[in-house]
Structures are given as structure tokens and as C-alpha cells.
Subunit: 216 residues, 2 copies
């Protein structure tokens, strides 16, 4: 299924392989230290000592200490975007968003296992939700992701995002709900993928009822 196109990735070369190895080592060491003793309690020096490189090298791979915490999140987000792209245009925007989210959770394991165990990602995600400095960055990143998704949705529907506010509004509403989900999940005891998938479904089911004029 892969390895069929010889052109773009023929032989990485020793230099490239070395680079990837140090980056991966830094990433893994950082995440382990973060989940073990907390983000703020972990210094960059500790991370680089664990991998035995200089501090300067860390900052050549990651723009700042936060970035390393979101490296895996990057993968998860592109995984979701891919799932959304895969939805047929025949589905309405909300339907497509909902199915894409659930699909993404279902297939997360395979998509991630090459780089980092899903388990470690889940613990990192909880760390992000519970560390104020990381949560702030996470929310800003989510806002950027929202914009990408809004463009995608507008494209599906053949609309211009700047002329019609509905794509952005719909995505904002759904994302808001998803954030509630993430927070509730982070506070709950069950850190499994199954658990967050279940909560996602439940919260999305409530979006219609919640926006009704009367609740009684």
C-alpha cells in the first residue's frame, strides 16, 4: 500500500536519520518528563540532559518549550482534517463534522502508534487541559484549526467564507461544544479514547436542544 512511489523518499541519508532520531528522542523525553512531574516543573535542561544534547539544540528543533507539548497534537489535528475531507459532500455540514470527529477518534490508534503510544498522547492531552499555560496555547491553536475547518466547510458547500458567515458560525458553535467535551473528559477519571468518543457523541447530541428558545 505504501512504498510504491520511489521518488520523494528514496534514502533519507545518515544526516537526516540522525536529525529525526534526536528530534524523536527530545520529544519522547519531554513528554515523559511532563506527564511524570508536570510541565512547569520540567526545565529544558532536564530534557536535554536526558537526551544528552545541549540546550541550544533543543531550541533548534522546537521554537519554544510549549511547542514540544503540541507536536503530537499536530498529528491528531491533521488526522481529523483528513477524516473531514473524506466525508462525502452529500452530507450536510453538521453531519459531516460530527461523523469526521467520531471517525477520527476511532482510527486514532493506527494513525499515531508509529510515533508515540496513544496512551502517552492521552496523558499529554490531559496535561494540556490541566496546565493553564498550555491550555491557553491549546485554545489559540484550536482557533486556528477552526479557521481551517471553516474554509473547508465553505468549500464543500461552495460558499465564500467572507460573504456568508454560516461556515465560521457553525464551526465555532461545534468547536465550542467540543471544547466542553474535552474539559469534561479531562476532569473525569476515565482517560480512554472510548470514553472521550462517548462524551463527544453525547455533547453533540445536545447542541440542537440547547439552542432551542425554551428548555422546559
Amino acid at each position: 500500500m505504501t512504498d510504491e512511489r520511489p521518488a520523494p523518499v528514496p534514502a533519507p541519508g545518515l544526516r537526516e536519520r540522525k536529525k529525526r532520531r534526536t528530534r524523536d528522542a527530545l520529544l519522547r523525553a519531554a513528554l515523559l518528563l511532563f506527564v511524570a512531574q508536570g510541565y512547569e516543573q520540567t526545565t529544558v535542561d532536564e530534557i536535554t540532559d536526558a537526551v544528552d544534547v545541549s540546550q541550544r539544540t533543543f531550541f533548534r528543533y522546537f521554537a519554544n518549550k510549549e511547542e514540544v507539548a503540541f507536536a503530537v497534537q499536530d498529528l491528531v489535528e491533521s488526522h481529523f482534517v483528513a477524516a473531514l475531507r473524506a466525508r462525502p459532500v452529500s452530507e450536510g455540514p453538521l453531519e459531516a463534522l460530527r461523523r469526521a470527529v467520531l471517525d477520527a477518534w476511532d482510527t486514532l490508534d493506527e494513525a499515531l502508534s508509529e510515533v508515540v503510544p496513544v496512551d502517552l498522547y492521552m496523558r499529554t492531552y490531559q496535561l494540556i487541559e490541566s496546565t493553564p499555560a498550555l491550555l491557553a496555547v491549546h485554545l489559540r491553536r484550536s482557533a486556528e484549526l477552526e479557521e481551517r475547518i471553516a474554509l473547508l466547510i465553505a468549500d464543500r458547500e461552495g460558499l465564500d467564507v467572507d460573504a456568508d458567515p454560516r461556515p465560521r458560525v457553525a464551526v465555532a458553535a461545534v468547536s465550542g461544544v467540543m471544547r466542553v467535551t474535552g474539559r469534561l473528559w479531562g476532569q473525569g477519571g476515565d482517560a480512554s479514547v472510548a470514553s472521550i468518543r462517548r462524551m463527544t457523541e453525547a455533547c453533540l447530541d445536545q447542541i440542537g436542544p440547547a439552542l432551542a428558545a425554551r428548555w422546559h
Copy 2:
């Protein structure tokens, strides 16, 4: 209208007045420097030099450099919460939220003018929206505000937030839409209150249509 209750605020005392004066001076100097030359380009030393106090003193008034940028935002948020509390229970949750937001914009001028000119606040707000580090913090603060509002809404409707997800979901959806508004306003040229009020109304009008199953 004031000065009728002698008990809680009889005479601030010289010490108290001095404190308030340095705090106000720091706040004003900081905001002016921020909007003039940018947040990251302004060092804490520059701020304290402008007021002629030591750097240490700055950090006795503000926990960190960000906090001073959000001091006015704090006022605006409590102003909005007050507006929401003032809405009669007879209004449904969405109706109340909508009217509270618009009310808050309409009366912002009076509520703020004592402390800082509205104009300076508006420029600060645009600075926050356009400075990544500040935007991140702003979004986290907004999330905290959302939680407060969700509790308020649940209270109005006589519901338990943890049993019924609708308060959080509704507030999340509306807040998401409001964030889109804020961003669009920040990018647009018109930095007036009237402008953001108008955009708020327009975006909130779209929340129903945007969540319809089909857009065509």
C-alpha cells in the same frame, strides 16, 4: 447618588490612595506603551521607568506582564455579567444572552470612562486579538468566563450544570460565535463600539441558520 453610605468607604487613607495611584499609573503607562509599540516590544523595565518605580513594585501589583493587559478586560467582563443578571427570567437562555451582550456594548462607555477612556480599551482589545501570546491568554480567560455564565444560566433555568449539559453547550456555542465576531471586528478597519455591536447582532442572527441540516 453616592456618598450616602458612610460605613464601607469612609476615608481611604493616604496609604491606600498612594497605592491606587501607583497602580493606575502603571496600568495607564503599560497600555499606552503596548498600543504604541507592541506588547512584546515593551519591557517591564520600560513601564516602571515611565512611572519611576522599581521593577519589583510592578510585580507586586500585577502577577505578570500579561495581567496588566487584561485589567480593563476584567471590568468589561463583570459589566457583561451584570447585564446578564439584569435580564428577566422570563426570557429564554439564548434571548437573555443576546440582549445582555447588546446591552453591555450600549452601556460600556459609562461603565469604563472612570478608569480608562473607552478608546484606549478598544485599541487594547485589538492588540490582544493580534498578539498571539495575549490572544492565547484571552481565550483561556474567556473559557473561564464561559463557565461562570453557564452556571448563571443553569441557575436561571433551575437546572444542575452537571446533570444537564445544555447550559454549558448553549453558552459554548454562543461564545464561539462571539469569538468569531471579535476576530472579524479586530481585522476590520472600524474600531468603534458601534461597529462591534452591529457585528455581534449580525453574527448571532446567523446561529440558527448555520446549524440547520442543509444550507441550500
